[in-house]
Structures are given as structure tokens and as C-alpha cells.
């Protein structure tokens, strides 16, 4: 079945250079294979390259108790070979043909992507189709990638200052297991994963009807569609996976935790407020609010906490985008010798100011300019576009959010910002995690 979301203006098709004034919208077409694979194509001949992205509608939110970290461990298995691709060969083939590739996992989706020269169109399709159809699942690959993922955990979390702060914040804020645990997972749970788990996860979640294939770049849509049919058409569909329970109870009192960190040098304060999912009117208002608070050196937190009062080395705040119950998060790095309680109080004063008075025209204008700039920048590379199309399809069942989100941000009013500040940025709705440097034992070994 083929549905066309945006009709290409006839005069644009085949032009090597898109006229700048018309190039502010991401144009794309949508299609669906019989096995349920959703396909989104954004043809663009401005460079001899293309990007291919497969977004699977699965993430750490789908993990069960005792298997945290599994969705990401599984992602690593997807580079371990399939019927026609050897273990590790994926890396080699892409590199040898001048491409870029990677995969990553969040709570809500898992993506795989390649950017390649345009003359290697079949290659990207073949690699993605082969592993969707016939992943090589065996004990030695699992053991090997388990150790790699455990090293990733050590390198990015356990061996870094503040490596556990964010994990603690999630665990304290959320009540529902889906978002309560981190995507990297625990060492114990990673150790518990079995080959049977891998096979079952693959069957359930890595079916074409649970995936979106999005491509952007230098190809002809008709030609690539027939190739997609050829490579992916025979991959069997599966019963749709169960929808995860994302319900998150309302928070009624402030939550607070203190964390000792032997690797940290400064105190850090993380504050999270529960907010609605992305792509909702309130979420857009909170995104603009985050901009006013902390984007750029003219922002309120930088001017007040970092520059004027010098109580914080860094002060950031913003709305996280999640398709489920999301968070507005502030992170404050406390200047040594300053009282963390004082820094926290100054932050709340800025929050209260957002409730008592509306933001200025100048601040709204800055946001509008930053949106305009973002609209242009998102057209620069093929990978960003292909990823955003796929993610919006998986998150909101609407790839066109790549275009409509700008309009929705521009529609946010000063009153909207005041309203969401009053509704969500409240004491009862917040969770605070304070990470303090733990003094080390003196002495040299």
C-alpha cells in the first residue's frame, strides 16, 4: 500500500540543487510492505550520498525485571553476523566502502544506521535486511558482546565522575519499572542474559511490522522501493509485541537522595520534574521554557548562577523528549566553597520567576530565531533527516513531526510558558539528587 504524504512539486524532482527558499521543509513519501514494514523515503540529490536507518520499536522500557540492559545488549548482537554476513564483517564492509555506521539504544527505540556513497545503494539495504531476517544467535557471540557491553558500562558510567547520578535520578523519580531503570542495565542482569532470551527477543521485536525503514539522500524513490521489496519483502511478520505499560502515578511529595561519588571533584545537583510526553502542547511549552532558562550565554541560569553569582560552574535545564511520561531536568555543577543548598535555592527562585511574570518579547524572539536556524540545519546531513523521520514514526506514528514541531514551537505563547511552569515545576513534583565528592583515602601506593 502506498500513501503519499507530500507530493513532490514536479519542478523540484531531479534538480541537483534545491532552491534555498523552498528547502525549509523535509519532503518525504511513505509506503508499507505487505509484511508490515513501514518505509519512509526522502529523496535529495544535493550530495552523492544516502543514509539508511532502521528504527525498531523496542527499547529498555520493554525489558522485564532481572533483564535490565538487555535491549542494548541485543543491539550489539546485531553486529555479530547473520546468514550472509560474518561476525564483525558489517564494520569491515561499511568502512571499506567509505561509509559510516552505528547503532544505539534508548528507553524507547533501537536504531541502526549507515551513511554510504550513492553508488552503494544495494549494500545498505542488503545488510539491514539480512540481519532482520536471519540473525546469528549463539553462545560465543553473546558471551563476547556481554563483556564488551560491560566494558561500555565501566567506561561510560562506573569509571566516570557522576556516572551513577543520572541512573539514581531515574530510579528515584519514576515509579513504573519501564523508565525507572537505566538503558545500560546492571552487571548482574547482563550476566543473567541467555541465548534463549536473545532468540525470543529477536522473534518478538525484530520483525518488519515492528520496524520503520527510513532513507534520505541521493536515490530515485521508485528504484529504491523495488529494491526494498526485493531485500525485505520476504522477511516474515510476527504477531505484534505487547504494548508496554507506561502508566506513571502522579507524584505527591518531593523526593530527595544523596550520593557519594569517589571519582567526583565537585558537588552536582540534578533536579527532575515529571512532565507530559513529547509532541504535546505542554511539552513544547516546556521545551521553550528550557531554552529561556539555559540556552546560550544570555540565558537566565547562565547569567544568574554562573556569571553573576558565580555559585555554579555550569547550569543547564531542559525538557527530555520521550514518547512516554517525560522529565524536565536541571543539572547544576556547584562551585567549590559554595553552599549547594544556596545554589538549589537560586535555581528555584528562577523557577518561581517564570510563574510570577511572563518571559520577555526578546526571549521569545531568541527562541523563534533558534527554531529558524534549526529548520535549516536539519537539512544539512542525510543521517539526521532519516533518523528523525524514523523516530517520529515510531514515537508518534507521524514522521511529519519533523516539520510540524517547528510550527508548534512557534505557536507557544508567554502565557503557555507561565502555565506549564505553574503546573509542572512544583515542589511536590520534583526529585532532587545531590552527588557529593567522597574524600579519598590519602597515601600513595
Amino acid at each position: 500500500m502506498k500513501t503519499t504524504k507530500h507530493i513532490w512539486a514536479a519542478l523540484l524532482v531531479g534538480l541537483l540543487v534545491l532552491p534555498a527558499a523552498l528547502a525549509q521543509t523535509v519532503r518525504f513519501t511513505e509506503h508499507k510492505l505487505k509484511n508490515g514494514l513501514r518505509v519512509i523515503l526522502s529523496e535529495d540529490h544535493s550530495a552523492p550520498t544516502y543514509s539508511i536507518v532502521v528504527t525498531y520499536n523496542v527499547g529498555s522500557r520493554d525489558e522485564r525485571q532481572g533483564r535490565t540492559g538487555f535491549a542494548h545488549l541485543f543491539e550489539h548482537m546485531m553486529f555479530q553476523g547473520s546468514e550472509n554476513v560474518g561476525k564483525g564483517e558489517h564494520f569491515i564492509i561499511i568502512a571499506n566502502n567509505g561509509g559510516g555506521m552505528n547503532g544505539n539504544t534508548t528507553s524507547d527505540r533501537t536504531v541502526y544506521f549507515e551513511t554510504l556513497p550513492a553508488n552503494q545503494l544495494d549494500l545498505g539495504l542488503f545488510l539491514e535486511a539480512d540481519r532482520m531476517r536471519s540473525l546469528a544467535i549463539n553462545q560465543s557471540n553473546l558471551d563476547n558482546q556481554r563483556t564488551t557491553v560491560q566494558e561500555e558500562r565501566r567506561q561510560r558510567y562506573d569509571n566516570q565522575p557522576y556516572g551513577r547520578s543520572f541512573e539514581t535520578l531515574l530510579a528515584t523519580t519514576y515509579d513504573n519499572f519501564a523508565y525507572k531503570h537505566s538503558t545500560i542495565g546492571s552487571m548482574e542482569d547482563l550476566n543473567a542474559a541467555t541465548v534463549k532470551d536473545v532468540a525470543e527477543f529477536f522473534r518478538r521485536y525484530y520483525a518488519p511490522n515492528n520496524a520503520v525503514l527510513s532513507m534520505a539522500g541521493d536515490f530515485k524513490s521508485d528504484e529504491v522501493l523495488s529494491k526494498i521489496e526485493k531485500y525485505f519483502g520476504s522477511v516474515p511478520s510476527q504477531p505484534p509485541p505487547p504494548a508496554p505499560d507506561m502508566a506513571e502515578p502522579k507524584q505527591t511529595a518531593e523526593r530527595r537522595k544523596t550520593l557519594d561519588d569517589p571519582l567526583a571533584q565537585l558537588t552536582r545537583i540534578d533536579i527532575a520534574y515529571k512532565i507530559p510526553p513529547g509532541n504535546t502542547p505542554d511539552w513544547y511549552a516546556l521545551a521553550v521554557l528550557g531554552d529561556v532558562l539555559s540556552t546560550g550565554q544570555s540565558s537566565r541560569l547562565y547569567q544568574k548562577l554562573v556569571r553573576e553569582k558565580q555559585v555554579a560552574l555550569q547550569a543547564n535545564a531542559g525538557a527530555m523528549e520521550r514518547p512516554g511520561p517525560s522529565l524536565f531536568i536541571a543539572t547544576l555543577m556547584v562551585t567549590p566553597g559554595k553552599d549547594p543548598a544556596e545554589v538549589e535555592k537560586l535555581f528555584y527562585e528562577e523557577v518561581e520567576r517564570l510563574k510570577s511574570e511572563t518571559v520577555t518579547d526578546a526571549e521569545m524572539e531568541k527562541v523563534r530565531m533558534s527554531v529558524r536556524r534549526g529548520e535549516v540545519e536539519q537539512l544539512q546531513g542525510t543521517l539526521y533527516r532519516a533518523q528523525a523521520l524514523g523516530e517520529n514514526a515510531v514515537f508518534y506514528n507521524d514522521p511529519d513531526v519533523i516539520n510540524t514541531s517547528s510550527e508548534k514551537i512557534k505557536k507557544v505563547t508567554k502565557q503557555d510558558i507561565q502555565k506549564v511552569a505553574r503546573t509542572y515545576l512544583t515542589e511536590a513534583n520534583r526529585t532532587v539528587v545531590v552527588t557529593t565528592p567522597k574524600p579519598r583515602a590519602e597515601g600513595v601506593r
Binding site: G88, G98, S107, F126, G290, V306, T335
Partner: protein, 488 residues
């Protein structure tokens, strides 16, 4: 909106990925890389010719490179100012170039820090200035929409030409920098890079990777103004611009806009070159509570103009230039020691090091170092198999196509050509030069630059656990996280 930095940072914190941005162990060895060669690959390498920049020299000596690209209503530019980088700093003021660059945004003759910040945001522009340690240049970068280009470019030039270095803003920056000095010592990446730079560069100024409390205290508005006055000279600078701009219209305007930037007598005179360190050393930095060891191994190799640059690049690519390279496939994909290991070559106007590096869990430190040396020995002792060499060469040539997506990358190529004085057809002939490299060339440069007898081995980790196993790799020196030597 989705690209805003904070949200991006949060998403990054939530995202776990496939790759990093790069003995007594019991890891399974049964997991071998395998090639089936069934994927449909076009044998034709997509040869691309990079667009050529229009080049002009203004009357004040400034070189201007314009790369027109009208795909989008967007413009990016950079001033690349030679003879203004940290390697020319007075030895008692490390950080002077960087602080001067950062202070450009903090006040001009007519604008306050806050006014500058407000105007940048109001214009939807981005303007930044930096001068990285070890570098010979200061770089000022700016970008924004083409319809208000003149406004944000005028602001950029105001920062470049009329900074006022206000004392109160400088004091604020100095306080923040002192905190950062402390904070950076928590990072294993900073500690390994610091120790490695000291080890390989010796008395060369590139050994410096950070300011000090003393140098920060000693920096005054006068010192910054003097550095700016003496070092930001147009005859040593390149202005590269790419995007929706017309060279023919822009260049005459530049003469007018930059008329106050006067030519001086300053020429870039490099300090004496760093030399290859003659003997192997093992330098341990103690970071108690570490669960991994961050290792970095290497020595001084070549500068960017060296005729060996291309063979060394290919050699590096085979050894550790990514996830298809030997180090990655061996230490990660087969041994499971690490999340990623890589190698790189730093080649600037003066010789810089090649290095191999990665973070490995503490228990397999010994096994990992053994494998590093095994790979070093292999690339010296055995000729790279023809197919592996061809793959590596193809990879580098084909990746040129991807750079066509990025106007900034194309501008970077044009600037590199100019900085090093390469001929006009340098990038046109580059693919052919890559394809001409032979297995014998690779072996020759591997033997010349990767010498196990003099490799500097840096390891940051829990010294109580790793010192016993590191002693077999050479004479050990132990440092604390402040960089002070505390034992052998």
C-alpha cells in the same frame, strides 16, 4: 529545537551505543571475525572532485577562501589565525592564548558581555573562539542564516578587532577556570592525555595541555590585550567562508569591513621540533577506585608536510583507524577487553605523535598491553596482505564522497591546503596518491615510526592493582592525579 545542546546532552546520557565517538584474563577467545563476502558491493569507487574555493588576498594580507554553496540559506565561516596558538605562549603563562580567545566574547569597545550574548541569540548566530593546547593557531568560528549575515558577521568582526578584556569579566572567567582545573582531574581521559603529552613532547611547548593556578592568577587584561595586539595579525590569517554567499560580492565588502585590521611584521617562527623519545618508559598515573585502566602508547612521528604522511595514514588506518581495524577487531571483537580501542596520528606544522589508546577493565590490563605490542610487532614484521591494504585504501578514497554532505568539511580541506602550502591540485591528486601506497611502504613506515624499544606507555588506573603487571613492560614511574611524581 531538538538540536538544542542541553536536550542533546540529556539524550546522549540516555543513549547507549555500539561504538565510543573509540594475560591472566579469562575472556573467551572463540569469537572470531569472519568474512563471507556475499554483500553486494559496487566495485567502482565513487570518485568525487571537491569543489574549489575562490581565493583572494586582501590589502592587509588576509587570505580569503570562499566556497559557494547555495543549497541552503546558511553561512559558516572561520578565521584561522597562525602564530597565535599556545605553542607561542610565554612559558609562565600557559593558557594565555585560550583565555584571550574566550574573552573576545566578554566585551568590546562598544558592547558589554551581556549585550554580546543577547545579540548573538537574537540573530540566531553562533560565535565562538578557541585556541587548543598544542596548536599554532587561534580559531574564531561563526555561523548563521544568510539573510542576516551582514549583522552577525559585523558582530564577529567587532569581537575579533575591538575586544576590551574587561577586568571584572576576566576575574569571573578566572574563577571558573580554577574550578575546571580541579574538575578535569576527575577524568581519566584528561589524565592520560596530559601524561602522554608530557612524555612524548618533552620540552616542546605542545607538552602543555592545561593552564595552572599560577598562570591563571598572573593573567591580566593588559597581558591579554598585548597577546591580541601582537598575535592576531591579518597577514598570518585565513578567513574561510562557506555557504549561501557570492564571492564576487563579498570580497570588495571585506576590504571595507576589515580596513581597521592592519598588517604587521609578525611572522610565524616555530619552536625547535620535538624529538623521538629514545627509550621505552612506563608512566603510571594513580587514580584510586578506577575500574578500568586508560592506556595510551606511542611516540613522536611526523609533521603534516612529511612525504610519509599518506603511507603513515594508511598504516594507522589498518592498525587502529576505526571499527574495522586490527586493534578493534582483536581487543574488542575477539577478546572482549574493551568498549573500543583506536590509534591516531597527530600531524601539524611540527612533528606530532602516533598513538594507540583505549580503556580496558583493570583485570585485563596486562593482556591488553600484550595485544597492543603484538599488533605493533605484526605490522612491522609482516607485510599487510594485499586485500587488507586494498580495503583500507578504498575506504579512504570512498569516504571523500561523504564529505560532500558537509560544507564545513569541504571548507576544512581548503584551509588545510592553504595552511600547509600544498599545490592547487592537492586534493584532486590525493586519491591517486593513496591508491599508489604499497604493502612495502606500509612496512617501511611501520618500522620507522612504531619502535617497540622506545614506545611511551601511559596507564591511568588503580596503581595498587596494575603496577605489578606493568613492570614487565619497562622502567616504571608513578605519578599522582595532580601530575606529581610519587615513586618508581
Amino acid at each position: 529545537m531538538k538540536r538544542h545542546t542541553l536536550i542533546a546532552a540529556i539524550m546522549l546520557a540516555l543513549t547507549v551505543g555500539m561504538l565510543a565517538a573509540a594475560g591472566q584474563d579469562i575472556a573467551p577467545e572463540t569469537s572470531k571475525v569472519e568474512r563471507k563476502n556475499r554483500a553486494p558491493v559496487s566495485k567502482e569507487v565513487l570518485h568525487v572532485s571537491l569543489p574549489k574555493a575562490t581565493e583572494r588576498t586582501l590589502s592587509n594580507g588576509l587570505t580569503v577562501l570562499v566556497l559557494e554553496d547555495h543549497r541552503l540559506p546558511f553561512i559558516s565561516l572561520q578565521y584561522n589565525i597562525s602564530a597565535a596558538g599556545p605553542i607561542f605562549e610565554p612559558s609562565d603563562l600557559p593558557g594565555l592564548a585560550s583565555v584571550t580567545a574566550q574573552m573576545l566574547r566578554e566585551g568590546t569597545k562598544t558592547k558589554t558581555s551581556l549585550q554580546i550574548a543577547e545579540e548573538i541569540a537574537r540573530l540566531g548566530a553562533a560565535i565562538s573562539a578557541s585556541s587548543g593546547y598544542g596548536s599554532s593557531v587561534t580559531v574564531i568560528s561563526a555561523s548563521g542564516l544568510s539573510d542576516n549575515f551582514e549583522q552577525w558577521f559585523t558582530l564577529t568582526n567587532d569581537l575579533l578587532l575591538n575586544p576590551s578584556f574587561p577586568a571584572d569579566e576576566l576575574n569571573r572567567l578566572k574563577q571558573r577556570m580554577k574550578t575546571q582545573l580541579r574538575q578535569q582531574r576527575a577524568s581519566p581521559g584528561f589524565l592520560s592525555n596530559e601524561m602522554f603529552s608530557r612524555a612524548v613532547y618533552g620540552s616542546h611547548p605542545a607538552a602543555v595541555v592545561s593552564s595552572t593556578v599560577a598562570s591563571i592568577d598572573a593573567m591580566t587584561p593588559e597581558a591579554l590585550a598585548k597577546w591580541h595586539r601582537e598575535r592576531y595579525a591579518p597577514q598570518n590569517a585565513i578567513l574561510g567562508i562557506t555557504g549561501d554567499v557570492r564571492a564576487s560580492e563579498l570580497v570588495p565588502k571585506l576590504e571595507k569591513w576589515l580596513a581597521d585590521w592592519k598588517k604587521t611584521e609578525l611572522k610565524e617562527v616555530l619552536p625547535p621540533n620535538p624529538q623521538i623519545v629514545p627509550a621505552r618508559r612506563v608512566l603510571l598515573v594513580d587514580r584510586p577506585n578506577s575500574v578500568q585502566t586508560s592506556v595510551m602508547l606511542g611516540n613522536i612521528a611526523i609533521d603534516r608536510r612529511d612525504p610519509d604522511f599518506i603511507p603513515v595514514s594508511i598504516m594507522n588506518h589498518v592498525l587502529g583507524g576505526g571499527s574495522a581495524a586490527r586493534l578493534f577487531l582483536n581487543l574488542r571483537e575477539e577478546k572482549g577487553y574493551t568498549y573500543g580501542v583506536y590509534s591516531s596520528v597527530t600531524a601539524l606544522k611540527y612533528p606530532g605523535p602516533w598513538r594507540a589508546y583505549g580503556d580496558v577493565r583493570t583485570e585485563v590490563t596486562d593482556g591488553a598491553i600484550t595485544e597492543f605490542f603484538r599488533e605493533f610487532q605484526r605490522i612491522r614484521d609482516e607485510r599487510v596482505p594485499e586485500s587488507e591494504l586494498e580495503d583500507s585504501k578504498r575506504s579512504q578514497v570512498a569516504s571523500f564522497a561523504l564529505s560532500l554532505e558537509s560544507p564545513n568539511e569541504l571548507l576544512g580541506y581548503a584551509i588545510i591546503r592553504k595552511i600547509y602550502g600544498f599545490p592547487a591540485d592537492y586534493w584532486d591528486t590525493y586519491p591517486a596518491k593513496i591508491m599508489a601506497v604499497t604493502a612495502a611502504d606500509i612496512q617501511r613506515v611501520a618500522r620507522k615510526y612504531i619502535n617497540p624499544d622506545n614506545i611511551q606507555v601511559v596507564a591511568v588506573g588503580d596503581v595498587s592493582k596494575i603496577k605489578p603487571v606493568m613492570e614487565k613492560y619497562g622502567p616504571v614511574e608513578v605519578y599522582d592525579a595532580e601530575g606529581k611524581k610519587v615513586g618508581n
